[in-house]
Subunit: 226 residues, 2 copies
């Protein structure tokens, strides 16, 4: 970082990249994992924007979600910096990919978004730039987080049945999970609400909520390994 | 990302940051976790440099390790982008922090490096810029990786005793680990070499090596939780 510190040359005399942010907002609807895309001159792309002077990357990501997709107050985190020198034909542009997991209701007031379905961990529609790769990494990141605690994106509400939880995890991991093994792995992170649900149509099923400390036993991660 | 695509304005007409890379190289020597620092006009700092046009962040990180610290061929990965607008008083500079864990022998041919001891997860000497925070995040990242597999940085050689392995993990996690619990958690990821060691001075101790699939059972992570 001190490369030029001894010289009189200003930092701005050297070539500098543009820096952008993009956000992969993942959600589940109709038993499918989906990512939020927006229409752009390059076709479908993740909501993104250029970093402004004086701004943090997270502020730029919030601004992109708001201005490009009408989405407010979503949680997200850095996934990785995309830095291939030829990734944008307009010039030298690095982009920090961010990942977010939100319940579908959070998208209710969005404008002009397109929900692209994800299959086998990949977006099923072409996305601009290297955004498809950003989606793939965000799905991998989501799976790591879902192996560590119960539905951290709160795709389910406060109370749910074990069947609802398992069906959600089957969507996230894109495969069937054995019923008894699943129950054994998640039960220590859940507590009964005392209520039952008949939403499934069968006999009343017990309702659960996340314990305050919602970390899953690490043994659960074995179940969710690829 | 398509913010300016409709205009005739070039990307370079907008303010752009300088982008740098810094690398926190962690190692263990004399039962202490240490990070590699170099002398710079700002005092001790992590080896770092500015990203050049046409270069990937990883290439810049390799160049920094080689030119600033004389270190070649180390593995590292992105830890996070440091983006506070005032983090560098020379101007607007973002820096991608990278983390690396290497055996102390890998530092043998380095030039002019300073090994800064780490206590309670933090460097014990002041570092330039926000490099102390980079070190803290790199230590947290190292602990996550060491909870997931046996000594992935290969700080120990190919064969080691359980005592040597536990002593290493006690240095990494900065606390005592109960002998029997430790053995139970790591044993499934190890296999005996058939040899014994008397290096400890006591009765001969069995030697182990990492299994080819070196992932620890996820239950082990419980032991290493903060």
């Amino acid at each position: 970082m001190a490369e030029h510190a001894k010289t009189e040359t200003a930092l701005t005399d050297y070539p500098r990249p543009s820096v952008a942010v993009d956000v992969a907002v993942l959600t589940v609807r109709h038993d499918a994992l989906r990512v939020v895309a927006v229409q752009s001159p390059r076709g479908l792309s993740l909501p993104g924007t250029f970093l402004h002077p004086g701004e943090r990357l997270a502020e730029a990501a919030r601004r992109a979600l708001s201005s490009k997709a009408g989405l407010q107050a979503l949680d997200f985190h850095q996934i990785g910096m995309f830095d291939a020198p030829d990734r944008d034909d307009r010039g030298w542009v690095l982009s920090m990919a961010h990942g977010s997991v939100v319940p579908h209701e959070s998208l209710a007031n969005s404008n002009d978004i397109v929900e692209v379905e994800i299959e086998d961990g990949s977006a099923t529609s072409p996305l601009a730039f290297d955004h498809a790769e950003m989606v793939t990494l965000s799905v991998e990141d989501m799976r790591r987080r879902y192996a560590a605690s119960i539905d951290p994106g709160r795709l389910l509400g406060d109370a749910f049945t074990l069947l609802e939880l398992r069906k959600l995890y089957e969507v996230v991991y894109d495969r069937e999970l054995p019923k008894d093994t699943f129950r054994r792995h998640v039960s220590s992170a859940l507590e009964g609400t005392g209520d039952t649900s008949t939403a499934g149509g069968g006999r009343p099923a017990e309702m659960y909520r996340r314990k305050t400390e919602i970390s899953l036993p690490e043994s659960a991660a074995v179940l969710f390994r690829a």
